[in-house]
Every structure is written in structure tokens, then in C-alpha cells.
Amino acid sequence: MTQKEYRKAAALSEENAQRSLFDEYFNYVYTIVFSRLRSCASREDIEECVGDVFADVYMQFDERKAFNGDPTGFVGTVARRKAADMYKRLTKKRQGMVSIDDEEAAEIEAPEDTEDTVEKKELRSSLIKCVEQLGEPDSTIILQKFFFMRSSAEISKLVSMTPEAVRVRCSRALKKLRETLTAMNISL
């Protein structure tokens, strides 16, 4: 949805325009925010941050001096920045004030360092491929369980299975995934 399309829709109904934009970019934004905050934030924090991202995007789309064209990159940038801000706030609150000379400082700063080495990227890529190779619904179950940290009951609704069946499949898929990772010499 370009800014032009948004404005056209907003002229008829602001809420509908915002909903269209939200629906189009929700998965993308949620995943960026979750990916950044999963280690330190509650689900409520993540939801607030997602809401914050979209509110900012609506406002930017309202602005006269925004931009034309595909806004995906812009939306992603807002999401990354908001998530980074919240990460800083949450970790700062949790850790309190730490001197930069403190040995702990390096650890606290580490997640902020976005230096994404080739190794990390390769690991991510291999990991994702291994998960995808499990096929459906196992790959979804594994990601939901161990990345998005959803309960079996929640996952059961997504994959139309009983919670018990989810647990069984998850257990088998995890075993299979471990074997594949071990064969590839990947340890997590």
C-alpha cells in the first residue's frame, strides 16, 4: 500500500485505511519487533511496541512530506528503530546503570551490537533451511514453540490439531531437527 493509496483510502475512512495498512504489514512488523525483543520483553511489551510502530507509520503517511513508492523499507526501518529503543529501555531498567568499565557492560551491550557476521548469517540461513526441511506442520510447530514461544494450546489453533497432537509432533520434529543439525555440525 503506497502512501498515495493510503491517503485515498483515508479520505473515505481513516480507520479503514489504517486497517488496510496494518493488515498488509502486520506479520512483517510483528516479526521484526518480536525478533528483537523476544529475549527481554513480555508479550504485552511487544504488542505495545507493534502498536507504537503502526501509530508512527500512520502519522508519517499523514505527513505531507513523506514519500512515494513502496513503503516496506520505511516500515521496516521504523519497526527496527522502535524495537531497538524498547530493547534499550527494557535492558536498561533490568540492569540498572552500569559503568562502561564494568565487565558486565560488554554483555549488556552485546545484543545491541548489530554486527552480523558472516558466520551468524550462515548459521541463521542453515537453521532456517533445516527447520523448513521438516515440512508442514512440523516447521510451523517448531518455530511457534521455540522462536515465538507459544504454548501447545495456542499452536493447536494455528495448525488445527489438538494440543496433545502438537506436543507429540513437536517432540518428534525436535528429535529430527537435532539429528539434522548434528549432521551439519551445528550446535545451538
Binding site: S39, M59, G73
Partner: protein, 688 residues
């Protein structure tokens, strides 16, 4: 890790490609999504002051807030005390006069100075359009003056659903113990009160003296002791979260990541400078003090050392950034080339040490920095007056009208453009309210800046008022500026040998202008040249947009729906079939468009980029000028040995969409004559 666990932390903070894959499995339920959507709307509404309760509030007329009578006695007593020379006693009385010391009361608010109680002991943080979203804590003297004005002002309560005016607002965050609230000053002399517990903001009219005092206090002046705070406050709860950040020891310090040593440098934002261009230009370089967010992107970048040493040539889009440490001993230099190479170095004058390293950033990272810079600068300049904005976002072209005839504009050469911009910068522009009187329009000026999407379109009036049409803002300017522009206009238009006349009917005019004389004299050859140029010009506009915006060179087919696509950087790119290298497209492009003007038009990664033996494209229509009506190539302007220049008149306004008074803009079009006699498109300005 036990057998039932799997650590997927490696997927945290993932790159774009991984995000795309994981996003397909986004688990949020409809209920969660709805909650987040509602949250986004709530935050948005709070931020924009849109009240969803406005229909529920009944208009109850004007409720005049009664200023406590005792205040007048206290003020009078203070005045008497001072007049009597009792300076000490008077000062004490003045200091204490805000304290409800008269008697104990069961209604403490009865002694309040403002409708919200005695504000004199409040902590204050302020924000205005110039520094938002940052806030600042005013120096003590200013804090006291502000609170005194608020306490002593006349507040008349008005209906909360009184329409909010357009324009900027000033924000006054107040904290008294645990109590936190916000006063928002609007351009219609009203202030709204809001806190976290009250749904409906109360709104008050204030007297002019109070308003002036507030506006004076809310001007950010770092040199006078105001302390800037880059707050990370949440939009949905700014009233409370604005207080989360402590006042930094050095309020102007920013965190600049220096990749060579992997250090985060704490330097003053005023010691950070940037400019765009082929080389560092000290005159064009501006401080990051008002755009401190620029440096954020260095810390988020994935810095990778280049494995080769290419011959780097800077162009107009090259970014130069410099900062100096607070002791002025070490200077850090960053040169960011659009190709993704970044030359980083430092010089320590005390130790005579130098460090340098060349980095090659991938598409995502260089796009992040370039887009980030662009957005930060656009954001900052959107709230600046034009004289300031053009320092941060330099002009690249301008059109100026005839004096006393704002309906005709012509493009000006680089030298005149510089003179115009210099004059704009040399004279302060003062913002005026939306309802400021405009006199008779006398001239117009359009300035295109490097980064701003919208041109500055100034209309000057005979009462020294300027209306900037893109932003609908009004300014008061010095008569000296108008005088300078008039003399430039005289010179520019004086150079036009044959002033362009507006045709009455385009179709009829096309026929008649074929027979018009040119400055080279009437000739059938020239008539043929003109006709040929008209056809080329019309075609060139369409083809240029196809090459540079649509992302599909003329004659090529693209099935966007089914083309293989990939996230590259922060955009989706599609494989362009039938092309094996970007050079092929550039070659096609330059076979029609002369290298003299267009050699670098397809540089960078937009809309084409080459990767792994494939050419990718992306499309983003830049949009059209809604005021555009028509274009006409009217005459041969001049000729050189290998180039012919033509006058182009573009017609705007009164086209059914834009109903403003019509105007014309005069630009140049040229053809570059090839050795074989064929033509290539030379100078070309897209009119819409």
C-alpha cells in the same frame, strides 16, 4: 539445554531474508491482532489529539476561570514592598506569593493560581516542532518565568470539542511530585490540559501576555543553559514516560560508532557535520545539532572491510560526515559512496596518528544509512523556516517569476540559483499565523532541494509576506530579500531574448508557433528542427520515466505478478527477464540520453541492480504534480556547435484538480547533436 528445548536465539534480530521467512509463520491470533490494531489507533489518536469522545461532550458554553482575588493583593503587596526599597522582603514575598499560605483550607484548589493548582514547584520539560521528539529542560530562570506566567494568566475554559487549529503545537510537560500532566499550546491562543487519568482534555483560552511568555520560554536555547534530552518516551504514554530519561551530563552528546576501533564515541552533536557532494565543502557542511538522529545509523550498520581497492569517484550523492572529539584532538572522517563503499579514517593531531579503513556495505546497510539520513534530514527540515531548511538540504535548482507577474516562471542558471539561495539564507524568515493577511501577489519562486520530495513554492506579496504553497505556511521576510530577488529576476528575465507568451489555445498554438520567428531568425530549417524537437521531447519524457521510475526499459515486457522476486536490502526486487547485465540497460539508456547530462542517472541500486548474474528491478512511481496541465516547446533558444536549446513552457493550475490560479514555468530542453547528425536527449526537466 535439555532434550525438550531448542535454542533459537540465533534467529533474533535477524536479517531481512530471515525475517521474511519467519513472518510467514507469524502466530498472532485475530484477537491479538485486533488488540494491537486498537493500540496503534489509540497511540495515533493521542498523538494527533484526535478525540473519539468529542461527540459525547456537550457544549456548555464558556466557563470563565476566576483568578483568585488574593493574588492581586499579593502582587500589589510585592509591588509596594519593592517600591519601598525592601528588596529582600519583596523578593521573599515574590517568591512566596504563590504559596497558599493564607489559611488552612478544605479546598486547596481555591488557592491555586492556575486552574490546575499552584505550578511554581513543578519540574518542566518542553518540546516544540524544532526539536521534537526530543524535549528540553529549561534553565531555572526560564522555568520560573514560565510557571509564573501560567500561574498568573487569565484562563477561560472553553468547550473541549472546539475544533483544533492546524499548525504546530508547543508541549509543556509538568511534574509535581508524583503528579504528571501536559499542557499543549495551540496556535489559536488556547491551551489543553491532559493527564493519564482524564479522558477528555480540558481546553482554555489564555490571555496574550501569558501566551507570549509561554512562547518565549519554549524557545530552545542550548547556549543559555537549556538541556536537551533525547527522550525515548512512548507515544501512548508521553506524559509519564517523558520523565524516564535523566538529564544527561552533556545534553548535546551523541553516540557515534567508529568501526575501525569498534568504539562508541561520545561527542557533542554540534561537533558533527555532514554535507553531500563530490568533496567535503566546509561552506555547505552543517552541524548535526538539530539532526542528532543521523549518527544513530552508524551504530546499526554491519561494517565489513572491503576486499579490494576500487577507484572511488564521489558524485553529488556522496555523503561526507565528520566529527571531532570534545577535546578537539581527534577528527573522524566518513565518506559514504552510493556504491556501498565507505572510507573511514581518523586523525589524532596530538599524537600524529592516523587510521583508515575502506568498508564495503551490502545493499541493505548502505540503503539503511542513505534512507535514514534522507528521512532524518527531511524530518528536521520540515519544521524549519526556509532559510534554515536550505542550509540542511541544499537547493539544486530554482525557477523565478517575472517581477509583478507571478504567473510566469523561468528556470535560472546555477549562479543565479546560488544567489537566490544565499539571499534566502541571509535574511531571517519569521513564521506567521495561518490567518495572516497577504497583500497583492508580486512574484513567485520555486526551489528544488536535494532531498525534499516537494519543491518549495514561494509566493511573495507586496506586504513582505510569503506564502509557501507546499506546506501552506506563511512567513514575514525582509524587504531586502524581496529587493534582491527582484534584481535577480530583472537580470534573469532580461536575458530572455524573446519572452514566452502564453498561448490561448494549445492546439491552435501548436500550429501558429511553428511559424514564429526564433532568436536566430525565421527559417524553414528552424521550423523543421522545432517540430522534430517537439516530437522527441514528448517521447523523451515518457521514456525517461520508464527507464528511471517504472523500472522497465521501453520495449521490454515485465510480468510483475509472476516474476521471481527477492528481498534485497529493504526492498523487493524482481528479476528482469532478457537482460544479463545492468550495463546493457545503461547502454540502451545512453543511446537515447546524452552522457553530457545523464551519465549518472542510473547509478545506484534504484531501480536496477545486478546480482549473481541477474538484473533485478523494482518500480516506484514518484507520483505526478497534480497542478500540471500542459507543456509546450515554443522556440529555439540558442545553438552551439553540437547542441540546440529550446524554450519549454509548462502550464500549471486551474486544471480541474488544482483550482488555483494558473501559472507557467519556463525551462530548457536541449538535444545533443551526434557526429552522424542524429540527436540524443540533452537537458531535460520532467514537468510533472
Amino acid at each position: 539445554m535439555n532434550d525438550k528445548e531448542l535454542n533459537l536465539d540465533a534467529l533474533e534480530n535477524a536479517d531481512e531474508e530471515t525475517i521474511k521467512i519467519i513472518a510467514a509463520d507469524c502466530p498472532a491470533s485475530d484477537e491479538e491482532k485486533e488488540r494491537m490494531f486498537a493500540m496503534s489507533r489509540k497511540i495515533y489518536k493521542e498523538r494527533t489529539k484526535e478525540s473519539e469522545y468529542k461527540n459525547e461532550v456537550e457544549v456548555s458554553g464558556v466557563d470563565v476561570y476566576k483568578r483568585p482575588v488574593w493574588l492581586k493583593f499579593a502582587a500589589a503587596a510585592a509591588a509596594v514592598a519593592i517600591a519601598a526599597g525592601a528588596i529582600t522582603g519583596g523578593s521573599i514575598l515574590l517568591k512566596r506569593h504563590r504559596t497558599p499560605h493564607i489559611v488552612e483550607s478544605s479546598e486547596p484548589s481555591a488557592f491555586a493560581m492556575s486552574p490546575f493548582g499552584d505550578l511554581s514547584s513543578c519540574k518542566v520539560r518542553l518540546s516544540n516542532a524544532g526539536i521534537a521528539p526530543a524535549v528540553f529542560e529549561p534553565r531555572e530562570e526560564k522555568r520560573k518565568a514560565l510557571l509564573t506566567a501560567l500561574n498568573e494568566g487569565d484562563w477561560n475554559k472553553i468547550s473541549p470539542d472546539t475544533p483544533l487549529p492546524d499548525g504546530e503545537t508547543e508541549l509543556i510537560y509538568l511534574k509535581d511530585g508524583d503528579r504528571k500532566f501536559l499542557l499543549t499550546l495551540y496556535g489559536d491562543h488556547t491551551i489543553a490540559y491532559s493527564d493519564s487519568d482524564t479522558q477528555n482534555d480540558a481546553r482554555y483560552e489564555i490571555d496574550l501576555d501569558t501566551e507570549n511568555a509561554v512562547r518565549e520560554a519554549i524557545k530552545y536555547d542550548p547556549e543559555a543553559g537549556d538541556k536537551l534530552i533525547y527522550s525515548t518516551m512512548y507515544l501512548y504514554d508521553p506524559i509519564n514516560s517523558v520523565w524516564d530519561e535523566e538529564v544527561p551530563e552533556d545534553p548535546s552528546a551523541v553516540d557515534v560508532f567508529f568501526p575501525i576501533t569498534q568504539e562508541h564515541l561520545s561527542v557533542s552533536a554540534k561537533n558533527c557535520y555532514y554535507c553531500y557532494g563530490k568533496e567535503w565543502d566546509p561552506e555547505a557542511a552543517v552541524s548535526c545539532e538539530r539532526i542528532p538522529g543521523l549518527v544513530w545509523y552508524f551504530g546499526e550498520t554491519d561494517w565489513k572491510e572491503a576486499d579490494s581497492q576500487p577507484n572511488l569517484i564521489a558524485d553529488d550523492n556522496t555523503i561526507h560526515f565528520r566529527c571531532t572529539d570534545n577535546d578537539a584532538l581527534v577528527t573522524y572522517y566518513y565518506t559514504l559512496y552510493p556504491s556501498g563503499y565507505v572510507n573511514v579514517r581518523s586523525e589524532n593531531v596530538e599524537k600524529s596518528e592516523k587510521q583508515s579503513c575502506l568498508y564495503k556495505l551490502d545493499d541493505f546497510n548502505i540503503n539503511m544509512i542513505e534512507t535514514g539520513f534522507r528521512n532524518e534530514i527531511r524530518g528536521a527540515t520540515s519544521s524549519m523556516t526556509p532559510d534554515m531548511a536550505l542550509r540542511y538540504d541544499p537547493a539544486i535548482s530554482a525557477l523565478l517569476s517575472r517581477n509583478d507577474d507571478p504567473s510566469k516562471l523561468t528556470d535560472v542558471n546555477e549562479e543565479d540559483m546560488k544567489s537566490i539561495v544565499k539571499a534566502i539564507k541571509a535574511h531571517p524568515w519569521e513564521s506567521l499565523p495561518d490567518d495572516a493577511e497577504c497583500g497583492k501577489p508580486v512574484s513567485r519562486l520555486t526551489v528544488t532541494a536535494r532531498l525534499n520530495i516537494y519543491d518549495y513554492m514561494f509566493e511573495f506579496y507586496d506586504n513582505n509576506v510569503v506564502y509557501e504553497m507546499s506546506s501552506s505556511k506563511k512567513y514575514s521576510v525582509s524587504p531586502d530579500l524581496i529587493g534582491t530577488l527582484r534584481s535577480i529576476s530583472d537580470r534573469v528575465w532580461g536575458e530572455e531574448a524573446v519572452p514566452a507568451e502564453k498561448p490561448t489555445e494549445k492546439a491552435a498554438d501548436n500550429e501558429t508557433t511553428d511559424n514564429e520567428t526564433t532568436d536566430n531568425g525565421d527559417s524553414s530549417d528552424d521550423a523543421e528542427i522545432l517540430e522534430r524537437a517537439r516530437a522527441l521531447y514528448k517521447d523523451a519524457i515518457v521514456r525517461y520515466k520508464e527507464y528511471t521510475e517504472a523500472g522497465v526499459p521501453p520495449g521490454m515486457e515485465m510480468d510483475w505478478g509472476n516474476a521471481p522476486n527477492e528481498w534485497i536490502g529493504n526492498m523487493i526486487y524482481y528479476v528482469l527477464p532478457g537482460v544479463s547485465s545492468k550495463d546493457e540497460i545503461v547502454e540502451m539508456f545512453l543511446s537515447e540520453f546524452s552522457e553530457r547530462y545523464h551519465a549518472n542517472d542510473l547509478d545506484g541500486d534504484f531501480p536496477y541492480l545486478e546480482r549473481d548474474g541477474k538484473v533485478y528491478t523494482t518500480s516506484a512511481n514518484k507520483g505526478n504534480n497534480i497542478s500540471y496541465r500542459d507543456t509546450e516547446l515554443t522556440e529555439i533558444k540558442r545553438k552551439t556547435d553540437d547542441e540546440i536549446f529550446f524554450t519549454v513552457i509548462n502550464y500549471y493550475g486551474d486544471n480541474g484538480i488544482d483550482t488555483s490560479a494558473p501559472w507557467t514555468e519556463q525551462t530548457e530542453f536541449s538535444v545533443v547533436i551526434q557526429p552522424d547528425g542524429s540527436w540524443k536527449v540533452g537537458k531535460l526537466t520532467i514537468p510533472y
